[in-house]
């Protein structure tokens, strides 16, 4: 055992001595270390030079998408296409109709359009006079201020001005250019009929007094209806046009204060300011 320990100790000593000798290659290793550090620095700078512009572009594009509201629509469509998000369900008071695809919507026949008198359906161009008004009738399909879920939706900001509110069953939010208020349904809808009547008087016939009465009727019967928010705003516009300033101010005040998640907030403020002059 003593012999074994001795040989181990001797071997350890031998290893210690042989490895303690000065290595001639240490200067070369130092140069390698410095070169590696320099290369690493250059690599990091190069990576940064590529990554920073890319990141800046991405951030700018995202900011633009969010501010213009296109990002939300894009992610929603993407989610639906990939299957992460469920397809938008039809509203409760409508029969379940499969959501038409974007391409199909233009050519697909609209059952409601055939049921409703042809003259009642506003043409595609009827939005033009709306745009001329100080606050065009941009409408959201789910306007109720009493439903928290809908309020949340409103906080995302108003949608495109070309978007129509009258679309009833399938919420085809991804097709803002569709000018027709006709629902994709065959069932009669008193709420929609009331809304159509007011809409026609307001935008098509431009009969402000009749429009005001129609909006009032709609809001009386459907204070929390699907189009109540748009109806309230259009009613306020009627009051402005009729010169009933105090009533108009009172009607615009909730919009101006941002109670509806920023919907028409800017326009309402501008109108109130104009009324006070």
């Amino acid at each position: 055992m003593t012999v074994e320990r001795d040989i181990l100790d001797e071997a350890v000593r031998a290893l210690r001595e042989t490895t303690a000798e000065e290595e001639p290659g240490h200067r070369f290793t130092r140069a390698r270390v410095m070169a590696s550090l320099h290369q690493g620095k250059v690599r990091r700078r190069t990576r940064l030079a590529f990554v920073l512009p890319l990141a800046a572009s991405f951030v700018a594009a995202s900011a633009w998408g969010v501010s213009s509201g296109k990002a939300q629509a894009f992610f929603k469509e993407l989610g639906e296409a990939v299957g992460i998000l469920p397809a938008t369900p039809p509203t409760d008071d409508k029969p379940a109709i499969p959501k038409p695809r974007k391409g199909e919507r233009q050519s697909a026949p609209k059952p409601a359009a055939t049921e409703a008198p042809v003259g009642e359906e506003p043409p595609a161009e009827e939005e033009a006079p709306v745009e001329e008004t100080p606050a065009p009738a941009e409408q959201k399909p789910e306007p109720s201020e009493t439903k928290p879920a809908e309020t949340t939706e409103l906080t995302t900001g108003p949608r495109s001005s070309a978007e129509k509110p009258e679309k009833p069953a399938p919420r085809v939010t991804s097709s803002p250019t569709d000018p027709s208020p006709a629902p994709v349904t065959s069932a009669p809808d008193p709420e929609l009929e009331l809304y159509r009547e007011a809409h026609r008087a307001h935008f098509q016939d431009q009969d402000t007094l009749r429009a005001l009465g129609a909006w009032n009727r709609y809001l009386e019967r459907h204070p929390n209806g699907r189009f109540a928010l748009e109806a309230r705003y259009n009613r306020a516009l009627c009051l402005v046009r009729l010169g009933r300033k105090d009533e108009a101010r009172a009607a615009l005040a909730p919009f101006a204060s941002g109670r509806y998640g920023g919907y028409r907030e800017r326009e309402a403020n501008e109108l109130i300011e104009a009324l006070s002059k």
């Binding site: 074994e4 040989i7 042989t18 290793t29 690493g40």
Partner: protein, 196 residues
């Protein structure tokens, strides 16, 4: 006497400040700071690397890796050990690959009998020393890396088990256990080789 104490304290404070400044520069990735640390500690790191991997070329690679990774690794330095000890612990952390590569190369070299010999003033003594060192390195190749590291740190580098534990990051008792098993196996292997 008081003056001497005061002078010593001042000198120690200055040295501490210097080390702190050096570490701060290392953290910023200053290559010149790495160069300074290399000049101060490369011998110790190289000796340990050679003892651990058993080969000059692989040891140089390990030394290179230790100093290249130093600016990143220094973020984990808490100042509870000397910078040299910290460098050894970096070497331990990067040793696995180098030890494996060196062991493979050594086996191939031995098969082909290509071990380089250096000229010496006392050829007989040197031959015996080299033979023993080679035999121990071969035996170390057969050990698990943990036991190998413990043996090199405690027996070859003559560090305490506490210091070795700090370097490896394991309790002192673990180091002692590893050392015990390592020595037992090494003795058996040296005996098998017929060395007396």
């Amino acid at each position: 006497m008081d003056e001497l104490l005061s002078l010593t304290r001042t000198t120690l404070d200055a040295a501490e400040d210097e080390i702190e400044s050096l570490i701060a520069r290392l953290e910023r990735g200053d290559p010149l700071a790495v160069g300074e640390v290399y000049d101060l500690h490369h011998n110790a790191v190289r000796a340990f690397a050679k003892r651990l991997v058993g080969e000059s070329a692989a040891a140089e690679d390990l030394v290179h890796e230790v100093f290249v990774t130093l600016p990143k690794a220094i973020r984990g330095y808490r100042g509870d050990s000397s910078l040299r000890t910290f460098l050894i612990s970096i070497a331990v952390n990067h040793a696995r690959h180098h030890v494996r590569a060196a062991t493979r190369r050594r086996r191939a070299m031995e098969k082909l009998a290509l071990e380089p010999e250096r000229p010496s003033d006392d050829p007989e003594r040197d031959a015996r020393r080299r033979e023993l060192a080679r035999a121990l390195t071969r035996a170390l190749d057969e050990l698990p890396l943990d036991q190998r590291v413990a043996f090199v740190l405690c027996e070859v580098e003559e560090r305490t088990s506490r210091e070795a534990g700090l370097i490896v990051g394991v309790p002192e008792a673990t180091i002692r256990t590893r050392l015990f098993h390592a020595k037992k196996k090494l003795r058996a292997m040296l005996e098998q080789e017929g060395l007396r």
